[in-house]
Each structure stands twice: as C-alpha cells, then as structure tokens.
C-alpha cells in the first residue's frame, strides 16, 4: 500500500515538473519573439548602430 502511494506521489511530481518545464519554454519563446519584433528582422539582425563614444568622436573629426 505504501509502495503504491509513493509511486503515485512520484508520478504526480514528474507530471508537475513537466508542466512547469513546458510553461518555462513557452515564456522563453515569447521573449525571443518579442526581441525579434523589436529588431524587425525575424532573427536576421542583431545589434546595430549605437551612438557610442567612438562614433561621437568620428562625428567630431568630420567638423574640422
């Protein structure tokens, strides 16, 4: 009897873990879709132009 109960508990725990993993995967996918929408390239483009100190210095040199 005790064996049966512990087996039930075991499968219940495995089931709960599976549901949690699936939920985590859905959330992760949603995050990546949002990032793709921000770049507008559906995963084709990463980080683009940034107004860094290097770029600022270049703009300054063109004003000479």
């Amino acid at each position: 009897m005790n064996d049966k109960l512990s087996r039930r508990k075991f499968f219940a725990a495995v089931g709960a873990g599976g549901v949690a993993a699936a939920a985590a995967a859905v959330v992760a996918n949603k995050g990546s879709d949002e990032r793709q929408a921000e770049t507008g390239q559906a995963g084709r483009q990463g980080q683009g132009y940034q107004l860094t100190e290097h770029v600022r210095r270049y703009y300054e040199t063109t004003k000479v």
Partner: protein, 207 residues
C-alpha cells in the same frame, strides 16, 4: 530611429583611394571584387571632381525590387543587406543598380559568376553578429561593435561621410554654408539635368 547613409563631399575628395583600401583590408574582400571605388569626372582637367561610390543603401532599393529569390532585406536602420545562402548569382541586381554596387566574384573557369557581394555598411549579414561565418561571407560587422564603416572612418580628408543621415546631412550643410559652394554636384539637376544655357563643358569632358 537613425537611418544610415553615405555622402561624399566632392570638394574634399582627393582621389587617394584610402576608402577603397580600408574596405578591402577590413573585410578581406577577394581579388576582383570592389565594394567601393573612387570615380573621377573630367580627370586631368581643371575642376575635376572625385567621389567615392559604393552601395548607397537606397530607401527604395531597385536591387531588392528585381531580385528573383528575394535575398535582400533592410535593417531597421535602412541598411540594405542580402543573404548569400539565397543568392543565385543571376546578376539582375547588377543591372538594376544605378551605382554598379553589386559585385560578382569569379567562381570557377570561363568567368562563372559567384554569389553577389556588395558593401554592407560594415553591418555584416544574417548570421550571428561577429561570428566566423558572418565574417567569411560578409566581412566585419563594425556597426555591432559600436563603430561606423571603415571607409568613412579612414577617410583622411573626411570627404566620405557615413552614419546617421540626420547627423551627416547637418555636417555637410554646415560645410556648404561655411565655404559657400559644393552642393552643386548633388541633386536631380546634376544627375539627369541638361547643361545650363550658354555653359560650355570643358574640352574632352565626359560625364
């Protein structure tokens, strides 16, 4: 959102080809492919003008319109890029481009054309930023490194301007205002207009 553009100041360009060399070196472009080149009008005559030409990353790019496999795409910053895995090397883009930007490396014997190669505004391609695969196909991705195209940064007289179109337009406008000339080489009148009445082109001039 910043839009990337090139602009060459013909009053400053001294035809040194530093931009061409910088591009070749930065991206290890193969022999026979010139992503950028310097064009001189009325070479050797008084008043000759030089401009550095590459892909102009057109707002309504004709290469994108004619590509039969739709390998071109545009980034959110207006940089026109292409996917070499999709390109079939047909050459339609070469005929469509008014600047002769698309280049085709020789692939095998008898002048067989390889996949198209062109200026990427130093923004790489569809592969992961600064990956080995991206470098092999498209060269360095300087934009992702927080830099601007090597040609523009290397230009000794800062004739070739590259970057945020709002910023470089402002820089160019200030130059023209300061020296009182120099914008004549640009515009529809220059590209497609007829010569002004009474004006005679210099002997041996070609356009």
């Amino acid at each position: 959102m910043a839009r990337m553009k090139f602009l060459c100041d013909a009053e400053r360009c001294i035809e040194c080809n530093g931009c061409v060399t910088a591009c070749k070196n930065e991206h290890e472009v193969p022999w026979g492919v010139n992503r950028r080149r310097v064009v001189t009008l009325n070479d050797g005559l008084p008043g000759e003008k030089s401009i550095s030409v590459a892909c102009m990353h057109c707002s309504d790019a004709p290469c994108m319109a004619v590509c039969p496999v739709d390998c071109f795409y545009k980034t959110s910053e207006g940089v026109v890029l292409h996917d070499k895995d999709l390109c079939i090397g047909c050459g339609y883009c070469f005929y469509a481009c008014p600047f002769g930007a698309p280049q085709f490396p020789q692939d095998g014997a008898f002048g067989m054309r390889g996949k198209m190669d062109k200026c990427t505004f130093c923004a790489g391609g569809p592969e992961a930023d600064n990956s080995v695969a991206e470098f092999k196909k498209y060269g360095r991705n300087r934009l992702a490194e927080g830099k601007l195209p090597a040609c523009a940064e290397m230009c000794s007289t800062k004739a070739l301007l590259g970057g945020d179109s709002d910023v470089i337009a402002d820089i160019y406008r200030n130059r023209v205002l300061k020296r009182g000339k120099g914008s004549e080489v640009w515009g529809w009148g220059t590209a497609y207009g007829k010569p002004e009445k009474g004006a005679t082109p210099p002997a041996g001039a070609k356009s």
